[in-house]
Symmetry: C2
Subunit: 218 residues, 2 copies
């Protein structure tokens, strides 16, 4: 499955979301009251249309949530691909660009990213589809860390678990971050990039192996 060519002139730029009135209002409603706390009637009222008009566009409430989740993860994957591509052949740059894309997304798009917690309310089939798409991000991260380890710039024993921890850490940002709060997306990104480099045991230049310390930088 060949990914579509990245459609971002600049993967660091987050234009206002323009999902259309139904999805925009659904994002807001699910964020405020949760998926189960939002009825199709509530949604129609927010959008200012009738319930049948809503059903004309979306099969049901779950289809609206699935569209939101799917749009968000595909957008993030394309950004991540663009970010990694921009890193050229530098394994550290590729990795930090990847982390940057994820954290910028968790901050600029916090409400969409937080929607991930509603995933458990969708059908097993839809959950599997979403998981399969999202898996691509995990595979990209595994590749990037693997590559850094092979080239001697990262030192990490347990790549799979470190990647999961890293992605979990970035995802949890959406739970507390608010645009307009004390930190800007760029500030959060700068800090998490440093932490991500620690997690993968970044060393500025390859060292001779050393048995003593589990973490060694410089």
């Amino acid at each position: 499955m060949e990914p579509a060519p990245p459609r971002f002139a600049n993967w660091r730029e987050f234009e206002p979301l323009q999902l259309g009135p139904i999805l925009d209002h659904a994002l807001e409603a699910f964020g405020e009251n949760g998926f189960h706390g939002t009825t199709v009637r509530d949604l129609a009222r927010r959008v200012g249309v009738t319930v049948p008009a809503l059903y004309y566009h979306h099969e049901n409430k779950e289809a609206v949530l699935v569209t939101l989740l799917d749009t968000a993860v595909r957008d993030l994957i394309e950004r991540a691909l663009a970010a990694v591509g921009e890193g050229g052949d530098d394994p550290v740059r590729r990795f930090t660009n990847f982390v940057e894309a994820i954290v910028l997304n968790s901050t600029h798009r916090a409400p969409q990213s937080a929607l991930d917690s509603e995933l458990r309310h969708v059908s097993p089939q839809n959950r599997r589809n979403y998981a399969a798409t999202r898996k691509r991000l995990e595979l990209m991260a595994l590749d990037l860390v693997d590559d850094g380890v092979e080239r001697g710039v990262f030192a990490v024993d347990d790549i799979a678990e470190s990647v999961r921890a890293l992605l979990g850490m970035c995802q949890s940002i959406a739970r507390w971050f608010r645009l307009g709060g004390p930190l800007t997306p760029d500030q959060v990104t700068a800090r998490y990039t440093v932490i991500a480099l620690r997690i993968v045991g970044y060393r500025a230049a390859p060292d001779p192996p050393s048995g003593s310390s589990p973490v060694r930088r410089n």
Copy 2:
């Protein structure tokens, strides 16, 4: 405010939860259908009591969620206190025991820990109370990292952000972990302890000063 003396013979042991029939069923129902997706009627049916009988024990559905959240975070705080206390005067041991307590809790008590995502559905007053209790965990973590930095065993620039990242990473475990899955709580704990030590820039023994490290005392 003096914390109560830890009531755990062994903070690493997680007995089956015995919250009583209403809270046990509420935990299950909120996990399956979310807070808003669970009606008081659903809950009464699961427990096998009438709706008025349920209201006899709990003011409303929110009070049930708040009790669950509060019980979980207080139990975790007591475990963390016991864990840190057991570390004696060794700053690394105190820190790793703390991380161990958190990760054991995120795994053994994954459904309770995951309930945290329902927090946005409780009233501002209840949310503030919960946040104030939970803040104690963050303050403990800040103290532990601070102490390690002062004693020259940890090296980290941005203690506040690293602690938040660390706690976010541990919390996100509850989103994927299942008892009986491929990893045991002890395995996850061992791996996350290593990752946590990386985040705080653990070094096995104080090194001679070097211009490159961001924080250095001793």
